[in-house]
Subunit: 417 residues, 2 copies
Amino acid sequence: MNKSDVTGIAQKAKYAGLKLGAAGTAKKDAALEYMAEGLLQNSALIREANDIDVGAAKKQGLQSAFIDRLTITEKTLKSMIDSIREVKALKDPVGEITKAWTRPNGLLVGRMRIPLGVILMIYEARPNVTADASALCIKSGNAVILKGGSEAINSNRAIAVVLSDALKKADLPSEAIQFIDTTDKDVLYEFLKQDELIDLVIPRGGESLIRAVAEHSRIPVLKHYKGICHVFVDADADKDMAKAVCFNAKVQRPGVCNAMETMLVHKDIAGQFLPEMITLYKKAGVEIRGCERTRGIVHDIKPATEQDWFTEYLDLILSVKVVDSLDQAIGHINHYGSHHTDSIVTSNVGHSMRFFREVDSSTVLVNASTRFSDGFQLGLGAEIGISTSKLHAFGPMGLEELTAQKFVIMGSGQVRE
Amino acid sequence: MNKSDVTGIAQKAKYAGLKLGAAGTAKKDAALEYMAEGLLQNSALIREANDIDVGAAKKQGLQSAFIDRLTITEKTLKSMIDSIREVKALKDPVGEITKAWTRPNGLLVGRMRIPLGVILMIYEARPNVTADASALCIKSGNAVILKGGSEAINSNRAIAVVLSDALKKADLPSEAIQFIDTTDKDVLYEFLKQDELIDLVIPRGGESLIRAVAEHSRIPVLKHYKGICHVFVDADADKDMAKAVCFNAKVQRPGVCNAMETMLVHKDIAGQFLPEMITLYKKAGVEIRGCERTRGIVHDIKPATEQDWFTEYLDLILSVKVVDSLDQAIGHINHYGSHHTDSIVTSNVGHSMRFFREVDSSTVLVNASTRFSDGFQLGLGAEIGISTSKLHAFGPMGLEELTAQKFVIMGSGQVRE
């Protein structure tokens, strides 16, 4: 594949997307079942292809965590198959009339969900994303073009061929799932120029990948760079609840984007709360970096620098700041945060309402852990990514976020005066 | 104003937007009332400033239609004031919980409408847009940066000063309405790079303006380039209804984007329908350009070229094509159209449902004129623009399209397992 093939592939995707958008749920569900069965039947071939990738990665001396994510075991293959069937079981968003009203002249005006069209998924060396993203796109009637990490190219090719064949078996256009079979970056950049044919780009991976995509793309990109998530422990927080929430938000899985990175504590509760909380953290191996006031309450803590408030550690490190008021907490979050996920622990109803309204983040919680900011946890049934910019989608994105809404209008001969 | 001022202005807008987003409806409505009153009280000043612009435009020998749009009369000023009060009377979208559900663990998950943040409006020499767009942005809690056509710079400055002062009177930040007081294009292009501070660009005007904005912008742009709208007269259409709809769609106001440019007629009805319809058109001064089959039925018609099917005439010109089937009509619309507005006249329920689902346009009508594709006509209460791309908004955009939705989650101490 080279640059001159790009427009042709995008055009085929566009055409396939139109066909898929008009297809009913039964046909799309049949395709998803063929996709699941295909992965099972071709598991030997897929794992052989994966062996090539894993062998090359080991030869290159890549990190073991990287190789773990790259490796397709019997268990990961089963989980891919299960995921496809879970997506199949979700409600088809396409065709839903989300609202409708009648105009004085009798026109019935409705808004109908439709697919976006063509989605370009860009991701790192996690072959499961090839199956997961394809399933979500097909269920929502979108054609997808897949660009996975180059270290997984053999695995992704093998999976994509199976998925694409499954579409054919269901009498749907196989070009609704296409795979960019090259490691040449220029080809990817050429795809990112096809704003007449591709409707949306979703990059998933590290910040540098996402920034490179956003910089080169003429197509809208839904993305989040990072998650600098906060928990604010308010003056009248239930202390036990605050401890449970703050512990969970930091420790339960520190390496993910919805883990807490900075804890803000109201000055009126800091004296009682911080010593107990920090003891808990230290037992769990969390390194604390505190503001001056924090260090006045609990000694033996590293100082937090200005840079710390901007940092996503993705690790067992936490910055801690004592604040004077709800206003200061909200100001800190809106200044240093990343518009991802922030939580308040409070018993004050007025404060919880102000926190909801004034914190400029995609997910805002009262009395719950930041770790719930996730499509599955929130009940979307799936997650294709998280957006921290406000256009189109804000927060975890499920099937509905892969749709647009058109106006459908039923008349009886109305004309405009 | 020069390039070095741009970031400062955008930062002020961002900060003002946060304040405005947290303000209640009563305060925003008070500001809108001060805006309306301010325009009335300062009408002499505004019209003096407008005289300067109109004088310069006349000196330059600009077209009379252009000068008409530029001129602020007592009547146009009154209509600006009325528009602001109409926007004030609309329902505030901010804070609305559009849906909410409970998770098995007791978390109450809701989606709350919030402002987008900062909107950059770019438009031509129509000073009324300065007032209309400001009112819509303030009502929806967004800060706005205004860049009007350079020929209207004195008028726009005078209006913007009044509007910005009105915010102060309502104890809201005056920087929520800012005006780019220069005709230097490089300053505008610098604004279009501020993707960290500005959330959305809405260009309104001719296709060349919009293309220039889209090409230079790193910020998402909501736009439509043109409206190549179709009416398809199906085989079993009610002939009188088809005549009324097709006549209205072409003739009622030919110079606007939702006027019909191409009429498609099913071959089974063409023989009866076309002679009568074309006679009506000819009486109204409409020039017809027909396909070969159209010209076989009605003689003395110019031939339509391939280019005609792609053309937005914005004039009393219509291209006409006879088609074999609903499939061919939908295929033609999706290939040659502009995803704006298309209508079918039919008595066939199955065909109307297929037309709704398969026509890839933002507004799809059955048995009604394309001219209804308009925020006011559809009952949105307002219109800030029309989008023909699917991300975020598709079709006419009202107040709701100036909002995003965040996740708000109420817990009672839930943590993730």
